[in-house]
Structure formats: C-alpha cells, structure tokens
Symmetry: C2
Subunit: 334 residues, 2 copies
Amino acid sequence: MHVSDLVTPALIVEARTLDANLATMAKALPGSRLRPHVKAHKCTALARRQAELGSRGFTCATIREMEGMAAAGLGDDLLLANEVVDARRLGALDARVTVAVDSSETIAAAASGGVREVLIDVNVGLPRCGCKPDDAQRLAELARDSGLEVRGVMGYEGHLMMVEDPAERAQRVAESMAELSSAHEKVGGDIVSAGGTGTFDCNFAATEIQAGSYALMDTSYDQLGLPFEPALFILATVVSVSDKFAVADCGLKSLGMDHGNPRIEDAKVWFCSDEHVTFAPDSPAETPATPVRVGSRIRVVPAHVDPTIAYHERMHIVSGEEVIDSWPVDLRGW
Amino acid sequence: MHVSDLVTPALIVEARTLDANLATMAKALPGSRLRPHVKAHKCTALARRQAELGSRGFTCATIREMEGMAAAGLGDDLLLANEVVDARRLGALDARVTVAVDSSETIAAAASGGVREVLIDVNVGLPRCGCKPDDAQRLAELARDSGLEVRGVMGYEGHLMMVEDPAERAQRVAESMAELSSAHEKVGGDIVSAGGTGTFDCNFAATEIQAGSYALMDTSYDQLGLPFEPALFILATVVSVSDKFAVADCGLKSLGMDHGNPRIEDAKVWFCSDEHVTFAPDSPAETPATPVRVGSRIRVVPAHVDPTIAYHERMHIVSGEEVIDSWPVDLRGW
C-alpha cells in the first residue's frame, strides 16, 4: 500500500527511526535492565518488537493493557505500575502479574483479587501515587502478612524527566533515588523499578527502567538531546486553502493537546478545531518545492505522543512512500 | 447495574439533564429548524433520541460519522459540514448525502465520488473552511455544471459562539449572517445552514441550526447562561491519598485537554498525567459528608466534551445511582 492511499488523519510511524530508537535503547539497557512501558504506544505489535530485542518484562498503566499483553502472549512478567482498588481482573490473567501498592486498601485489593506479587510504590518527589519512603517497610510487612510476595519497590521520578541540564538532572535523580534505595533496604526483594526515557542514562539506582516514550519520542523529550528521534506523525490532507491560511483534516480528536498545539514543518499552526488544524504556510518563495494545495498531504507533529495515539485505531508503519505494516492500537480503553 | 459497578474511568450521562436539554432545544427549534451535529456525542443511540424529538436531518464532521448514521437508519438527510477531497465512501452510502464544498477541487471530488447534493460553504469570519462570500456564485455555477444539485449555503460563525454579552453576540451574528445571506441570494437553494449551541437563539438568518453541544454541554458554554445544563461527567476512582492531595484514575487519555484541566467539585485540580488526575480536596471541615478515601468515587467535569467523548467506547446513562442504559460511542475514527 502507498502512503497516499491512507485515509486521513492517519498515525504513521517511520520504520527506520523506530528501529533505530529500539536498537539504541536495547543496547543501552539490555535484557531485564529495561521494562518497556506500553502506555506510550498501546500496541502489542510494537511490544513484540521490544520483546524480540530482549525485554521479557513490561510495564503497563491500565488493567486493559495488562489483559491485552497477556492475550498477546507477552505475559512473562507484567507490572501494573499503578494502584487499583479492584484487582480481580488482574488475578484472573494467565500471566505473571505484579501490581504497585501504596496503601492498606490497595494491598487488600491485590490479595483479595488473586494477585500474588506486588511492588511497594514509593513517592520519590512527583505528587502522584506512592507511599512516603518511611512508610514502605510497614506496607511491605502488611503485604507479606496478607500472603503477597513483595518483589521490591518502585518510584517514578517523573518530575525530573524534563530537567534540561544533564548534570543537574543526574544529580537530582540521584537524590530522588536515594529515597527509593533507602526504602528498598527495608522492604527487600530483587526489584528497584524506576526511571523513564528522560532519565534512562542517569538513573543508576534502579535495577530496571520503565521507559516508554523512547520508541516513538515526543516533541518535549526531543529537546533533551537524547539519542532517540521522533518516529510518529499524523498524516493529514489539506481540504481548504485561502490566501492567508490552509486547513487540514487533523484536529482535537486526533491529537493529545495537553502540551499545546502540534507543529507543521514550514508553517505556523494557528489553532485546532475538532477535526481541523488551521495553519499558515511559510511564504511560497521559501518552499517552492511544496506548495500547499487542496489535496496536499502534510505531516503534523503532535505535541504529546501518548494521548495522541490513544485516539487512533491503528498505526501505519512506513518506509519512504510505502506502508509496510499496519498495527492495531489494541491496548486502548480500560 | 449500579453506578458503583462501572469500571473507571467511565463516561456517565445524567439521564434527566440530557432529556431536559433535548426537550428544550426541540421546543426552541422544532423539526427541520434544527440539524443536530453528531460530532459532539458520536453516538447513534443519542442521535436516535434527537430524531424522535423531530430532527430528521443531521450534521456530521467526518465520513465515518456519515457511514455510522446511515448504517443506523438515520440517513434521511445527512450533511457532511466539512470538505473532503475523496468522496467515494460518501457516494456509496445508502442515505441522502449532502457535502460542503468550497473549491473547484472539492466540487470535483463530490461529483466524481458519486455525491449528488452539495452546500456551498462560505467563510463568515472563522478562519477555517469556506469560500469568500463573493466567490460563492461562481462555485455554485461550477457545481451545477458538474451535475450537482446545490441545496444552498452553509457558514459557521464559530468565532462568535463565546461572545459573552448576548446583545453583542446577536449583533455580531447578524453581521456575519448578512454575508451568508448575500451569498445565498446568488447561490439559490432552500438551505441556509449555520449556527451552533452558542447562537441557537440569536441566529435568525439560518434556515437550520447545526447545534450539537447543547445535548451534553460544555464547561465553556456553561458560562453563557444558556438554557442547557452539563449532563456529562467522568466517573473516576480515587486510587491513592496522601496528606496534601489525592489521585484518581482519570487522565490525559480520558479527557480532551485543549480547554485546560477538568474540574472536580470541592477540590482543586493540580495536574493530569496519562491515567491520573492529582487534586487537593478542600479542607475536610468544609466537606464532612464526602471525605476522599482510597476507593472513593468522584465526578470529574471535562473542560471540553467533544474530544473527551472521542476517547471512550461507551457512555453510561444514569439516573441516581442506577445505570439505566449504556450506549456505544460508535461514530469514532475516520
């Protein structure tokens, strides 16, 4: 299939860039050093590629993601890195399931739901889930008393992913991880799970890194000088052109907008509507090779990849002008 | 089914509020005066309710919406109020299909795709699609020469929906619609299609109003003093509580974020992550009846309903604590 045959808006992934990103990370964090986070792509076909490169364990954000990974035969070691208050669907899975817990309620939910293994989730600075570091030991004891195997700890330093200066980022990650390590000493277990794409090369305390964005990358991560390149775009069709602006069929329902407007090369984005992006192409004199006409195909670069992908049913893998594969975004929903 | 049995995050719709919104609009704009826009809810079950209240014609934003409406038996008079450069899927529908055109290319696409009827889309001030008013006559002639039936004109005054002062809004709508009327005089046809929820009661030039948001409503529209009430929420479960904040399982992948953060009653929203909202409940002393605990269910009010709904597979219709119906959001995708 030719790229021009795709119905727009369409998620497209540059095969070569994806391959390079996956290979770079697999080399930096081989085998169990990487526990790829599937929330970033929600796609078992892409997860299978990560598995082929050595990752047997995966990180998930939702129960649906856990179910989909298990159904796809990728359930060797699945971690739900979020808390749940009803774990029965997890307990029913034909997979090795570990779930994060940070309270007596979530421990009780894991035990009564039939889950066997947990990590104690420790707050390492991001105001989200996780217990206080000095409460980790109590929770680990409670979990063991409830019949659960405690495999170790996790703590997500998400507030540090975007620290621009690498040295400062490394320093602050070390401080944040010191809290996790101190909790780990008291909790025990083999696992210290943490990190993300922004800290994959400066988090030395974690036994495994939960990176996800590296595969397809994000505009914001792109500013950190990481060895990964943006691989995902939205193909859109120009449907209307006036003297000052043009309009393409990619809008609020095909773009995660929490990081702001998308980018379009050689153009200024004015605003997005439900199904449209209005943009002003740079002067034709500067881009004589690519005039924008009704029917032109353009590439829109989403500001935030994860919530963008969650709007789409499929991602199309392209090489040049050929669509070489089409993968269902099969881990959507809850 | 009980509301507490729903898997969260879940779209919930208050039956009574929805019914009141639908009835109010059907009374204000009976029969063909209203052409409800399905993009707001993407749900044929909800569209069927609108049809039962007298609307035989509907407005769509995508080809998929047109297909879904036709398949649901709601194809008496479907308007695709956006331009397309490939109309073959529209031409294949078993339904009365009208499509917006604003250029020679989109006219050619309609004709060659097998569509029979068009509206000339006129730009009435919103920088998006639509021809210049003084180009409408030429395009109408071109369409007729191409064998198409020109049913009239459309023009969306979307830039005026949020003008706060009702008198100023009415005045500016009248000015905007004067351009559409002048184009209509030269184009001919029975239809002048325009308007939306924000101008449903002050657009007197249109023969039909394309309102959609009124059914479920939006936070932003809610500030205009319209006779419609918010009917849609997201039910979320609190999964973690600390001394300063709490976290519920509703995040960037269940919320349209282009209008900013959602609201939570009796709480301040701090930020959203992919699957979480972090919020600070107001002091317990002020809300003794509803302490936030792990496992509590809360209602999250999205800032923008349309792109929120597009993330969800179903909307659950509730009355009190009972789920009285569950409707697929079956018009998603493209």
